[in-house]
Structure formats: C-alpha cells, structure tokens
C-alpha cells in the first residue's frame, strides 16, 4: 500500500509542475465556467417569460464528463509511456515494488489530480446555494430553498466514476506504448468509442444489441447517476472498466519484462 502511495504522490506532485496539467485544468474550468453562465442565463430567461425554473446543474455535469473524455488522455498519456521511453522504467521495475503497485500508483496519482479539479467545480453549487462564512454572508442564495443535494451528490459520484474509468483505461493504454502521442490518440479514440460510438452497432445487429447498449458509458452516467439514480449495475459497469484498465496496465508492464 505504501508503495502505491509513494508512486501516486510523485505523480500528483508532478502534475503541478507540468504545463499540460494546467492546460487541461484551465480549458476544462473555462468551458465549465461558460456553461455555468449559460445555465443561469437560461434559468433567468425562462423566468422572465413566465416559466420559473431553477439552474440545472446536471447540464454542467454532463459537459464535465464530456470534457473529461478529451482531458484525461492528456493526463494519462505520459504516465508509463514516458518511463519506458526515458528508461526510468528500469528504476521502477528493479525497485522492490510489485508491478500492480506501480500501475495502481500511477492511476491513483492521476485520479487525485482529477479529484482536485472536481473539487474546484464545487464552487458552482456553493454559489447557487449561497455560502456563509463566520458572520459574513458572502453570497445570497440564488436558489431557494437550495439545490437538490442528493441529485448533486449522485451526479458527482457518477462523474468521479467516469473520470476514474477513463484514467484507468488511459494508464493501461499508456503502459502499452513508449510514445506519448500514440497513447494519447489511442486513449481518445477508445474513450470516444466507449462514450457514444459503441452504441451504434446495437441498431444494426439482428440480435445481441443489448450488449452494445450496455457498453455505452453515456447511458450509465447521463441516464443514471446524473438523474439521481445510483444502481448497482451502473456501479459495476464503472468498476469493471477500472479493473480492466489497471489489469491491462499491469499485464503490459509484465510483458515488457519478458521482452
């Protein structure tokens, strides 16, 4: 366990000295900022026309998941590919740590970075709800009597599972390649496929379409967690993807030893 933590901590710290992580965080937060603005705008517009509504944070969460699809490959591409290219993998593979500890540590490091990013977005629901620090009312609530916290929690759990799955698959793909760019594009294509495209064959095949439908990540997030429903089948789906990614990574590292 301690080995996993040592690796994870180094990766987490490393994100804060690499421009790519800042670029990902900046772009994601910038776009989410626009979306948040648009969400509020649309709610206030419809109120003007006599249809009162509340700002819908699930729109924001959907966009966040969508952006993660592009952002996470940039965060995971170098994790193991760069170690292989620069030869530092030799250091890690001759250190007294197990291959899976290395892979899980890499994944955990990137996951903690994404959690930091996710934590930064908590500002939006906090703004909507209004916050009180000490005796100073910083903001008055925009939504009264407050937003649906259970739905918000469910959305965030789903979002974190989406991120964790992307990152695990990204680490696995990074372990296969020695070229970061290759790892990036293969990850991106995999995520695009998983998020929407894998559902396309469902309508084309005569039977077994359920499998393809089940594999579509979007329905497990947008049609479940982001609607406030936490079901075991969706949780299992994401946990399976995480396990698959980490297993692929560990196997790729082991294969590297035998080559």
């Amino acid at each position: 366990m301690r080995n996993i933590w040592t690796i994870a901590k180094r990766e987490y710290d490393h994100y804060f000295i690499t421009p790519i992580a800042y670029v990902v965080a900046f772009v994601v937060l910038l776009i989410l900022g626009f979306i948040f603005f648009a969400v509020i705008q649309s709610a206030s517009q419809s109120a003007l026309y006599g249809y009162p509504s509340v700002p819908d944070l699930t729109v924001l969460m959907w966009w966040f998941a969508f952006l993660l699809m592009f952002g996470t490959p940039a965060l995971t591409m170098r994790l193991l590919a760069e170690e292989a290219r620069s030869g530092t993998i030799e250091l890690l593979l001759t250190a007294p740590i197990r291959d899976y500890e290395l892979v899980i540590g890499k994944w955990l490091g990137s996951f903690l970075f994404i959690l930091t990013l996710v934590a930064a977005t908590l500002i939006y629901p906090i703004m909507l709800n209004g916050i009180v620090i000490g005796s100073f009312t910083v903001l008055t609530p925009m939504v009264s009597p407050g937003i649906d916290r259970q739905l918000l929690l469910s959305s965030y759990i789903g979002l974190i599972l989406v991120a964790a799955s992307f990152l695990a698959l990204g680490v696995g793909i990074s372990a296969v390649f020695t070229n970061q760019i290759a790892a990036f594009f293969v990850s991106l294509i995999t995520f695009l496929g998983l998020f929407f495209l894998i559902g396309i064959p469902a309508n084309l095949v005569p039977s077994g379409g359920e499998f393809f439908n089940y594999m579509v990540m979007r329905t497990h997030f947008d049609g479940a967690f982001n609607m406030g429903s936490i079901k075991l089948t969706d949780v299992v789906y994401f946990l399976s993807l995480i396990a698959l990614g980490l297993f692929t990574g560990t196997t790729a590292v082991e294969i590297r030893r035998w080559r």
């Binding site: 040592t6 620069s86 030869g87 530092t88 030799e90 001759t94 250190a95």
Partner: protein, 310 residues
C-alpha cells in the same frame, strides 16, 4: 553473495546469454568485461529482477532471483547503463523518492547523506535536468547506494565521464567494494585491472575467461612487451638491448623508440636499464605495453577455435 548457475536468456531466436555460471563473494569487486552486445547488460538486468531468465537460476544475497524477486531487489543497488533520472526533479527530491520506494525511514535525511557520499550535496536543490554527465552518473550511483545494499550492480559506471571523474568514480567504487559485493561491467581493460579483484570476460553471451586481472593477462600473454625510449640518437640501441640475456624480438620503431619482449616470470627490465645506461644513453622511458581488449579477444577466440580452453 551472487551465485549464477547456467543462466540463459533468449530474445526471440537470438541467444543473448548462454549458460553463464559464476559467483561473487562478499567484499569482492567482480568486473564484467566484454564488447558491446556481449550480454553484460542482459545478465545484470536478470540479476536485478528487471527481467526473468529463459533458463538457469541465480541467487543474490541468498534469495532466488525469480521466486524471491522482491527480496533480491531490496538488497541490490543497480545503476543501469542509461542512468534513469527524472529531469524535472531536484537531486534531493529524486533521492527522497527513491528512499521512499525503499521504505527508508527519515528518507529526506538519508537522501541528503547519500548526496554527501557522492559529493553532490551542494547541488541538492538543483534540477537534475541541468546536471552534467558526470553529475548524472554520480546521482545515479547515489540512487543505487541509498538503501545501503549488500550487492551493488553497476552497468558501465564510468562511461562518458572525464578523466578526473573516472578516477573519482573508481575511488568511490573501491571504497564501497571493501565490505560489499560489487559487480560492474566495462569494456575498458585497464579499468577492470585497476578496480576489480576478479574479471569475467564475456563474449557472445559466454564466459571465455575468468581470473584475477594479473593472472588473466600473464596467462594470455606468456610474454611481456616493453617500449624503451632514450634521449637523442638511438641507432645503436637495439644492438645493445639485444645483448641482454632473456630479451627477444627487439624492434626499432620509426619514432626512435625500441620495443622488446621477455618471457613472463623472468623480468629483465632492471638488466636492460643498466645496459642502456652503461652504454651512455639517457633513459627517458621504459613502459610495458598491455594487451588491449581487442587483442585479448582475438587471443581467446583463436584459442577456442583451436579447441583449447582459454
């Protein structure tokens, strides 16, 4: 400390090392001598747990390298040929990371101590990316030493260093080798002669000779060749030298120096020196010409071809 038995490694159809057997005791510095592609790095990678062997077995510090790989890795310090460094870390951060991976308590203190050992503590907070080749090599060594391993495996530790750094690195290795087992690879014969207690010569994945550096050379050579240089004219020198008993193959070189040979075991150099001085020459230089690694290889492969054991 290191026992290797019939170790074999295939990369696809190519056999990188073939049935290697050797051992190394505690406090012994063993040199692995061979040309590029001889299998030195492969052997070291197997012994450090980086890759498993195709066949054969080995124990390091009493643990099997395949079944107890983690135990072996805890006890081995390894400096790979391409020094594995993170350029975006400072020297201290890097060593602290390595110490943490080895679960060393007070890792930062240990990292700093190790930096002192390799004389880099003044650059503790500099980024490794800005280091010179020599400094990179030293921090690589520090990384291998950080857990005070029983066995140290160094792949070409002096490659790419300037002469002063080479001397320094050799001194550090000799110091470490006093109480620990060191296995180092090199393709420089004089280096092996200077620091190693024992030399294994490896070629095409096979050990072709194993002995102390001195024995190896005299066994291979049988006779010693010496170059002699005097001040001024040396036309008569070959004749004078030839008269000394035991001297053979006298040869005058174009640059005015004279070379001769004598059988190993009967050193005629004092007599030659006396004769030269008595003949009125000012003796400037007399030095043995060692065999180069290439010559040793030619020698060894020739012997093998004749069916003799080198």
């Amino acid at each position: 400390m290191i026992q290797v038995n019939g170790l074999t490694k295939d990369y696809g159809a190519r056999r990188a090392i073939d049935n290697l057997t050797f051992d190394a005791e505690q406090g012994e510095i063993v040199g692995f001598l061979g040309p590029n592609g001889a299998g030195k790095t492969t052997t070291m990678r197997i012994l450090t747990g980086y890759m498993p062997p195709t066949d054969g077995s080995a124990t390091v510090a009493g643990y099997d390298i395949v079944d107890e790989s983690l135990e072996v890795r805890k006890r081995v310090g390894y400096l790979p040929e391409t020094v594995p460094l993170y350029n975006d870390m400072t020297a201290l951060e890097y060593l602290k990371f390595m110490a943490d991976l080895r679960k060393i308590p007070n890792s930062e203190d240990r990292a700093y101590e190790t930096l002192e050992t390799v004389n880099l503590h003044e650059r503790a907070n500099s980024f490794i990316g800005n280091f010179s080749k020599g400094m990179r090599q030293r921090i690589g060594l520090a990384q291998a030493l950080i857990h005070r391993p029983e066995v140290l495996i160094l792949d070409e530790p002096t490659i790419g260093l300037d002469p002063a750094q080479v001397v320094e690195m050799r001194n550090v290795i000799r110091e470490i080798g006093k109480d620990r087992t060191v296995l180092l690879s090199t393709h420089i014969l004089s280096e092996a002669q200077q620091i190693c207690d024992r030399v294994l010569i490896i070629n095409k994945g096979k050990i072709v000779a194993e002995d102390t550096p001195e024995n190896l050379q005299s066994r291979l050579v049988g006779s010693q060749r010496v170059v002699l240089r005097v001040r001024g004219e040396s036309d008569e020198l070959p004749a004078k030298v030839s008269k000394v008993k035991g001297v053979r193959d006298v040869e005058a070189k174009a640059d005015g120096s004279v070379e001769f040979e004598f059988s190993a075991g009967q050193d005629v150099r004092p007599q030659v020196a006396k004769a030269v001085i008595q003949a009125g020459f000012d003796l400037l230089e007399m030095r043995p010409i060692g065999l180069s690694l290439e010559e040793i290889f030619l020698e060894l492969t020739r012997d093998n071809a004749n069916g003799k054991k080198a």
